[in-house]
Each structure stands twice: as C-alpha cells, then as structure tokens.
C-alpha cells in the first residue's frame, strides 16, 4: 500500500479534523426548540448546559416586537427559521459563502447564518417575509422578479432579493454592472444570473416609480 505510508499520522489527522468539524456543527445549531437543546435534555445534562442557557430577548423582526428565547451562540438564521417560523430565509452553506440567508439589519444586508442573534437586539431585522405590505401587495423588487420570471429553483431567491433591496437603498438607480457588483455576495447554482439581474433591475425601476 504505497499510498498509505503512515497510517498512524492519518488516524490522528482525521480524527482531530472530525472532532473539530463536529464541534463546529454542534456550536452552530445549539439552542432550544427543534434543532436546539430541548428543555428536558438541558435539565438532565451538565456538561454542555452552559452553552445552552437561553435568555429571553425581544427582537424587532419585520416591524414586530418578537420575544424569543435565545442561546448565546445562536445564529440569526436559526432563530428566524426554527423559533419564529420564518422559513423564507434559506441556509445554503451556513458559513458565509452563498448569501442564501441574507436579511437586512438596520437596512444593511447581512448573512444571517453568521450573525449572532444577540447582536441584533435593538436593531431592525427584515427578512423576505417582511417585504410585502400587510395587504399582500408585493414589494416593488418582488414584483420585478414576478414580472420577469426571475430565478429558477428560487432557493437563492430570498437572499438575492434582500441583497438587492439593501443595495437599492444606497444606490436607487444602478447600472446593470453596478447592481451585479451589489449582489455579487450571493451565489445562484442554477446560474440564472442574466435573468436575475434583469428582474432585480426591473424591481429597481418599479421602486423608483412607486
């Protein structure tokens, strides 16, 4: 087995890497509720109970004050998806690579998979569910996407729309190239970039007209 010169070294490397991987995975998802430490388990456990302590905080989500129990290490994406039932925010990578989880925090687009929920206390969070008005009228950017049949599978769509809405707040009249740069932190694996850009530009135009 010429390709396995040093199996000892292999064991150590792999097991340590796996351990680290596991710790990261555990850290990223821990809290109460569905994914998170359920309360019964928490009471019975000592070792990781410290990491699971929740505090009741009130968050401003889509214009509403929402009280919610949050762990120290809980990410905003998890709070939105698993505690507040706002599943329109998607997880594509959970590591700041793809932008599927983008939400606005005080009008600025952020990757919610990589923002701690505690850090948004006192700030305004807007997710895809918060764009349309209460009577169901779509936000002009959403309307632009509908008008132009933007996106394919749409798993990346809410992230792109939130990025675009954030970008348009600072540059309401972008060129195609400027908008492409504005949303370049978002990945689309259907690679519908051409139609996405056309749709979001239509959204920008809708916004200016509104």
């Amino acid at each position: 087995m010429a390709d396995m010169k040093n199996p000892e070294e292999t064991t150590k490397t792999l097991s340590r890497r796996d351990l680290i991987k596991g710790v990261i995975a555990a850290g990223a998802v821990s809290s109460a509720g569905y994914l998170f430490r359920s309360s019964g388990v928490r009471a019975a456990q000592t070792q990781s109970a410290a990491g699971s302590v929740e505090r009741l905080v009130t968050l401003n989500i889509n214009g509403q004050q929402r009280p919610v129990d949050v762990m120290k290490q809980e990410t905003l994406a998890m709070t939105l998806r698993y505690k507040l039932g706002l599943t329109g925010t998607k997880l594509g990578c959970d590591r700041s690579e793809c932008g599927a989880c983008t939400v606005l925090i005080d009008d600025v687009p952020h990757y919610s998979c990589s923002v701690l929920t505690h850090s948004v206390r006192g700030k305004k969070v807007v997710s895809i569910e918060g764009l349309a008005s209460a009577d169901g009228k779509l936000h002009p950017v959403q309307q632009g996407v509908v008008d132009e049949q933007g996106f394919q599978c749409a798993f990346c769509m809410s992230g792109f729309i939130m990025s675009a809405v954030g970008f348009l707040k600072v540059n309401p009249k972008p060129t195609r190239t400027e908008l492409a740069h504005g949303i370049s932190g978002n990945l689309c694996r259907c690679q519908d970039y051409d139609k996405i850009l056309t749709a979001l530009l239509k959204g920008a135009e809708n916004m200016r007209r509104a």
């Binding site: 390709d3 991987k21 109460a32 998806r81 996106f151 798993f155 689309c188 690679q191």
Partner: protein
C-alpha cells in the same frame, strides 16, 4: 388513432411568456422546501461519516451515545433492507445488486460515506451523540486517482477490483419476458509495462477497453485521411452543489411513509423509494413542492433519504435529516472526470473520416456511469465521423459517488473532441465555423455504434442552421480578422458544437374539467426550477382553446393523485410531457364532442371545441365546459373517471380512481409515433480576453443558438440557455475537485474552494441566445428539451477562444486556471500536468 400531424396553427400560448403560478410563493418566502416542513414531535438525526477513503467497520460502541438523555435511536447498515430485485412497470425484472449504494455502509468506499445515524430530540444532542460513538476500523487500500489504480501494482478501490464491466444482455428466451440489464461486474485491471511507459511520457494509453463499439471501417477511414490529429484531454470532476442540499423529513402513518424531500421528479421518486425500502409503492407518499436545484443529482431524490425514513419507523416519530453543505459534498453526487484521447483523421477539406476515441472515467465507487458511453454517442452525432471506434474504461475510485450532471458524458465528450476540431481547422487552414459545418449532423443523422450493421438515428437535426445563425449574431467573419494582441491583453474567439438527448416518450397526462368550468391539471413533474413542471401543461389550454387563467395546476404531492410522469432529468420533460398533455387534451376533446352529440344530436364529429365550449361546427348549439362537466358526472363511466382507461400506467390508474366523479376526467398515455431518438443541439460562440501579465481571463461575450424545435416558454428557455451555458463556463474557468492523494481526503468541499461561477465571472451584460425555430417533426407540438447541450458548448467555445488568443501549447485539461496560463507563457510548454487527476 393519434397521429403526429396535429397542427395547432398560430399558437396562442406556446412560445409566449407568462408568469408561472409558483412565482408569488417564491418571492414572498412562502414556498416550502424540504427543510421548511415541521411535524409534531419531530426528531432530528445526524450522520457519522467515514473518516477513511476505504475501510471496514470492525466494531461499533454506541453505548455512551445511547445513554445520553434525548437520544432515541441509532441506525446502522445492518438494519437496512438488503438490496432486493424488483420488477419495473413494463414487467422487466431488475436483479438485486449486492454492490449497489445504500444509505449506510459497513465498508465505506470514500471518505465521508455515511456509516450510521443517530436520532435525538434535537440536532445538537444527535451531533453530540455521534461524537461519543467509537468505531474500530480496518483500513483497506484505496485509490482516488484513476491513473494510479491502473498502474501495474496499483491499489484497487474495491476489494475485488478497480474497473466495471457490464456483460452483454442475455438473449431473451422464447416466450419469456426480456431479462433486465445484467448486473455490472468488477474486474482487476492494470496497464502493461509498455502502456505504463506510455503514460509516463504523458500519453494516455489506449489499453484494453472494458466497453467498445464502432461503425464503418476505421482503418479504411484513416487511409483516406490527409491529416491525423492525436490528442489527449482531461475534464474535471465537478460537484452538482445544488443550492438546496438533499435534506429530507419522513414519518409513517397507517403503514404508509410520507417523505418530504428534494427531488427532480415527484412521481418517479415514489417507485424509487419503494425499491430502496422493499415496500409496495402504494405505501409511499412523496411531498416535494419546491426543489432547490437538481442538475441530475436528484433525479429521484437520493438514497440518503432512507436514513430518516427508517429511523422514523424505528422510533415511531417524524425524523428530519438536515444535510449540511459539507455532507452534501460527500453524498450529493458529481460529474465524473474524464481522461480522453482522440485520434482523428481528416481529409484536406476538413471532413472527419475516421475517429478513434478512448476514454477513462473517474467513476467513484458505485455502479458504472452512463457518461462514458454517452460521450461516444454524442461525439458520433455532433461531428458525424464517417468511421468511428469508441472504447472506454470505467474506473472505480474511492471518491464520492457520481451521478448524471447536465449533459452527462456529452459535455465531457464535446470537451475532449472540440480541441481536436480546433487543431484540425488550424492545421488545414480552414475556418472554425466551416469545419464544424462540414461535419454537422443534419436530418435523421446517425448516433452511436452499429448493431448488426445498423445505427440508431435522431428525430431531426438542424445544426448547420444553428451555426449560420450564431455566426451572424456573433459577427464571426468580421471578428475573425480583429487584432488579437494589444499591449498586455490578448483576445480570441471560439466556436463549439454540442448535442444531447432531449426527450422521452410514453408517459401519462391527467386532468379534470370541473363544474366551475376550470381545468384542474395534475402534474407529476418535479418543481426544480426549469418551469417545465408548468410549461408542458400549457399545451392543454392551447389545444382546448381556453385562456390559461382557466387552468389550475396541482403539483408536488403524490397523495394528490398525480399521473405517471417522466423523470425530470436529461431534459426529457418538455418533450415527454407536452406529448402526454397533447394526448390527454385530445381525450378531453373527444369526450366533450361525444357528450355534445348525446345531448344536442348529430355525431361527435359535428362538434368542435374552443373558447371554453363545445359547439356545433360553424356556430350554433353547444355546451360550456361547466355544463359538460356536470353532464360527465351524470354519465359516469369513462366520462368522469369511474371507468379507468386501460392504457395508462399503474400510478395514473390509482389517481384516476382518486379523482373520479369530480367532473369530465381526461387521462391518456402518449402513444404518438416517433421515428428516431430525440436530441437537441447548441452552437456556442465566445470571445475571451486574457491578461498576459496575470494569466487572468474573462469571457467578453457569448452567443448560443439552439436547435430545440418549438420553444414553449421563451423566458424560462433563456434561463436554461444562460444557466446551463454558465455551468459549462464553470468547467472551463475554475470548477474542479482537489484531493490529498496521500490520505485520500477531498480538499475542495465547499463553494469557496470548488469555485462555481459568481455573477462577476460570467458575461451578464453580453449574452445572447436564439433558437433556429424549426419544430421537431416527430412530436405533436415540436418541442425538445434544452437543459443539456449548452454545457459542452459553453465550456468548449471558451476553451477554443483561449487557444485562439494564446496559441495551442498552453493547456491539456480543464479548468484552465491562471497559473496554467502563466506557466505556459513563461516556459513555452503547456502549463499543466497532463494526466494526474484532482489537482
């Protein structure tokens, strides 16, 4: 009797843009993908993945994990149902394959293969339980590079060998149903010393193949040749990396399993799950309303969904398995990389008279992929060699399982052949468009090898038309003479031809015209983003002459009575399901005419259908659809679905019964004739600009012209043209796997290191697409699929443009990264390693 000659003159709906009915849910975040469902008492599971590229589980100690509060159960490979034989709907017996992939394994064949799973009250507890499990491993030899395992004395990826061989099918016994395909076998195959010496020279040995076919007389072809080009090329392994991973959630109720999953094909996933679990398909319900991309990796979802399914049975509670991005790298499928060598003979006017094609595929550990054979078939179609031999070796490696990826095999074949076409044109002093035009398929062109002297042929091909239209849109002739180099920048242009299968036949359609006058269409197509799930049903409204707004489409849940539908893979849907929709609309039309004749006198032929009514020809008495629906319910029998048509398949029959009595029910199987195999074609044109100081290059602009018959929904079509072309660009620019060969460990597992194109990598401002707009003559509305051929055209047009900008001595593999270009410019030799995989 259905014929192909049903002309629908001046389409009202087909070929027009409209808004698909899933858009508002998508933009508001209300669309639910697999991970967005919750069920009462839902548990979570986590996977233990193999740390070894190849090993055997000697002992599992899960006691500490199982003792943790909140841990509900462990599932190991020992608890999976054994691989079982099954019988297809057509009565063909598929034998059990002991080497087939399963959800979990005790002998992982690649690093990251799932070994066991733990279900717990929450995901953190499950993840901690996994950390507490101890496994004693036996290490086994491994190979991650197909070239390494072929060396004399090289390690084998499987204990019994390193190459797949598929025995020829047994001849059918008289009076018996034809036997299913024979099981693939594994062989131990190594190069001879002479072949190995050739490999060390940087040449791919044309060794003993494990598969081959041919047509014509290749020796005679080479004798006719004025020029012989002999080139090798390496294409990358590329993960599908769908934005949505293959997360799944399952629960059991009254002996039925409900599976929320991410799949390309709603209807087809039912028998797949039934097969994996060895249960009857009537006990499987698939819910998949929205799927976050597939590209071939989720044709019937993935076998990994059996893990939450079996755990939920074991613990009698719903179980969600969230698949992380890294896990998706392992279990999420990838396109097999190819090592290919082409020996091609051309006459001096550019005609390809002989082609000897040899490919080695890097196939991962499970089952031989169809890619190898497809690569030969597509090359034989795209460039119509007069005489051809194709040979292949399907190598087994300890790398994640491969699966079909947009234009599977075809893209690799085109990428290996295009540099040869390019070189031949340059050597012969011919124009690049002209040499492809001379060799382009036309009409009922041949495809693949000859069996008893006869080859298959395609339904139609209009590739010369596509090349002409593309050359004009791209201004090829003008741009040919432009200055290539200015200062530190070099520019080049390239063209490539590509083809792929684009439609199947024989599936069912189903809809009900209800007393509210609306048409309720049942769609078994998956909603993976191509919109063919909706687009194909526009044919119903077109044929029945009703506004589209009068149609309501139900999809995404097999409990809602869906018809038997083609797999949404290989771009079959728009072809297969427009045919089924057409047949079903004709069934409705017939029933409407019969009801009108019964009520209003005369014969059915005296009536026509249009504007939501059935009425006497030339105007006069008639019934609205609403009235006819009421009459159908009164009449019962075949009119409202109480009598089930014999011709439709098992799943459709059950769905007809489920919907019976609600209105006028139309159900039919596509039995339209087809002469030939349906393929679509693309001619791609690209310009690139290279920075000679940094090696960076960008695609300046691109034109893609498709020969796809009737375009049904232009905007969705344009999305496929751009998206699939862009997938091809990714193969040229950056996407690949990288392995630590010493440990057999993958290094490019995430987006940031496998580098799929971002919006800044592609020419979003300078992309044009067009279609030749000639309907396919072998299908009712003339439509063929488009999702495949743009890939190879996109990759190769860019690579050919790079050669035009920099010359021939730069690269021998894709992707072409800037370091390859810089090294080549500096040394005057190709800047890449010719044959090593995964670097």
């Amino acid at each position: 009797m259905p014929t192909n000659k049903v002309n629908i003159p001046n389409y009202r709906l087909l070929g027009k843009n409209y808004t698909t009915p899933d858009m508002v849910a998508k933009v508001t975040g209300k669309s639910k993908y697999a991970e967005d469902f919750r069920a009462e008492g839902m548990l979570f599971c986590k996977l233990l993945l193999s740390p070894l590229p190849h090993g055997r589980v000697k002992r599992i100690d899960a006691s500490a994990a199982l003792a943790m509060p909140g841990v509900k159960a462990i599932l190991t490979a020992d608890e999976l149902p054994p691989p079982a034989p099954f019988i297809t709907d057509d009565g063909v017996m598929i034998p059990a394959d002991p080497r087939a992939e399963r959800g979990l394994t005790n002998e992982p064949l690649y690093q990251g293969e799932p070994v066991l799973a733990v279900a717990a009250v929450d995901e953190l507890t499950a993840a901690e339980a996994i950390e507490k499990i101890q496994i004693d491993w036996e290490r086994l030899p491994f190979a991650v590079d197909p070239m390494v395992t072929l060396k004399p004395g090289g390690p084998n990826a499987r204990t019994d060998g390193n190459v797949w061989v598929v025995p020829p099918p047994a001849p059918p016994k008289p009076g018996e149903k034809p036997a299913g395909p024979p099981l693939p076998q594994v062989q131990d195959f190594k190069w001879t010393d002479a072949e190995y010496a050739e490999f060390k020279q940087g040449k791919l040995p044309m060794s003993k193949p494990s598969m081959e076919w041919s047509y014509g007389d290749i020796e005679a072809g080479f004798k006719k040749a004025d020029l012989v080009v002999d080139e090798a090329f390496v294409t990358p392994n590329t993960s599908h990396q769908c934005m949505e991973t293959r997360t799944a959630m399952a629960y059991w109720q009254n002996g039925k399993v409900f599976v929320h999953c991410s799949t390309q094909s709603t209807a087809q996933t039912v028998p797949a799950i039934a097969r994996w679990l060895s249960i009857d398909q009537t006990n499987v319900v698939v819910i998949s309303e929205y799927t976050g991309g597939g590209f071939g990796s989720k044709v019937t979802s993935g076998i990994s969904l059996t893990i939450p399914v079996l755990l939920s049975k074991k613990v009698n509670a719903p179980v969600m398995m969230r698949v992380s991005r890294e896990e998706e790298h392992y279990i999420g499928r990838a396109r097999p990389g190819f090592h290919g060598r082409m020996k091609a003979g051309f006459t001096k006017d550019g005609r390809l008279v002989a082609l000897d094609m040899f490919v080695v595929t890097d196939g991962g550990p499970y089952g031989p992929q169809g890619d190898a054979n497809s690569s030969g078939r597509i090359v034989s179609l795209c460039y119509t060699p007069e005489n051809m031999r194709w040979r292949g070796v399907n190598v087994i490696t300890n790398t994640p399982p491969r699966g079909a990826q947009s234009q599977p095999g075809g893209a690799q074949g085109v990428m290996i052949m295009e540099p040869v076409m390019n070189k031949a044109a340059n050597k012969l002093g011919l124009d690049q468009v002209a040499i492809r035009r001379i060799n382009a398929p036309a009409g009922k062109a041949g495809i693949g090898g000859a069996i008893k002297g006869k080859r298959d042929h395609v339904t139609s091909a209009f590739v010369q038309e596509a090349l002409d239209k593309g050359a004009e849109l791209f201004r090829w002739n003008e741009r040919k003479s432009q200055v290539k180099k200015s200062g530190t920048k070099a520019r080049g242009i390239g063209v490539a031809v590509s083809a792929y299968s684009a439609g199947s036949i024989g599936f069912d359609g189903l809809f009900v015209i209800k007393p509210d006058g609306k048409i309720y269409i049942q769609s078994g197509v998956g909603n993976l983003g191509t919109e063919s799930m909706i687009d194909s049903h526009r044919v119903v409204a077109e044929v029945l002459g009703v506004p589209w707004e009068q149609c309501v489409v139900t999809w995404g849940n097999t409990a809602k009575h869906l018809p038997w539908t083609c797999p949404s893979g290989g771009s079959q849907t728009i072809h297969a399901m427009t045919r089924a929709a057409h047949a079903t609309a004709m069934d409705a039309k017939q029933k409407l005419q019969e009801i009108a004749a019964m009520d209003l006198g005369g014969t059915p032929a005296d009536y026509e259908v249009g504007g939501g009514r059935v009425f006497r020809k030339g105007g006069g008495a008639g019934l609205t659809f609403a009235q006819a629906a009421q009459r159908a319910i009164k009449l019962g029998g075949k009119y409202d679905g109480h009598e089930v048509p014999e011709t439709v398949s098992r799943m459709t029959k059950a769905s007809v019964t489920g919907l019976a009595g609600q209105g006028l029910l139309a159900a039919a199987k596509d039995k339209y004739k087809r002469d030939g195999i349906t393929n679509s074609y693309v001619a791609g044109f690209a310009e690139v600009e290279v920075d000679l100081e940094t090696g960076e290059y960008r695609i300046v602009d691109y034109v893609g012209v498709a020969d796809v018959g009737t375009v049904i929904h232009p905007r969705a079509f344009g999305g496929q043209m751009f998206g699939r072309t862009s997938l091809g660009w990714g193969h040229a620019l950056a996407q690949k796997w990288v392995y630590d060969q010493h440990y057999g460990a993958p290094l490019a597992k995430r987006f940031y290191n496998s580098k799929p194109p971002t919006i800044l990598d592609v020419p979003v401002n300078n992309f044009k697409w067009a279609a030749v707009d000639i309907p396919d003559p072998e299908t009712p509305v003339g439509a063929r699929g488009i999702g495949e051929p743009p890939v190879g055209a996109g990759a190769s047009a860019v690579l050919n443009a790079l050669v035009d900008a920099l010359g021939e001595n730069i690269f021998r593999r894709a992707p072409v990264t800037l370091d390859i270009i810089l090294t080549a410019l500096e040394t005057g030799k190709p800047g890449d390693d010719p044959l090593t995989a995964h670097i």
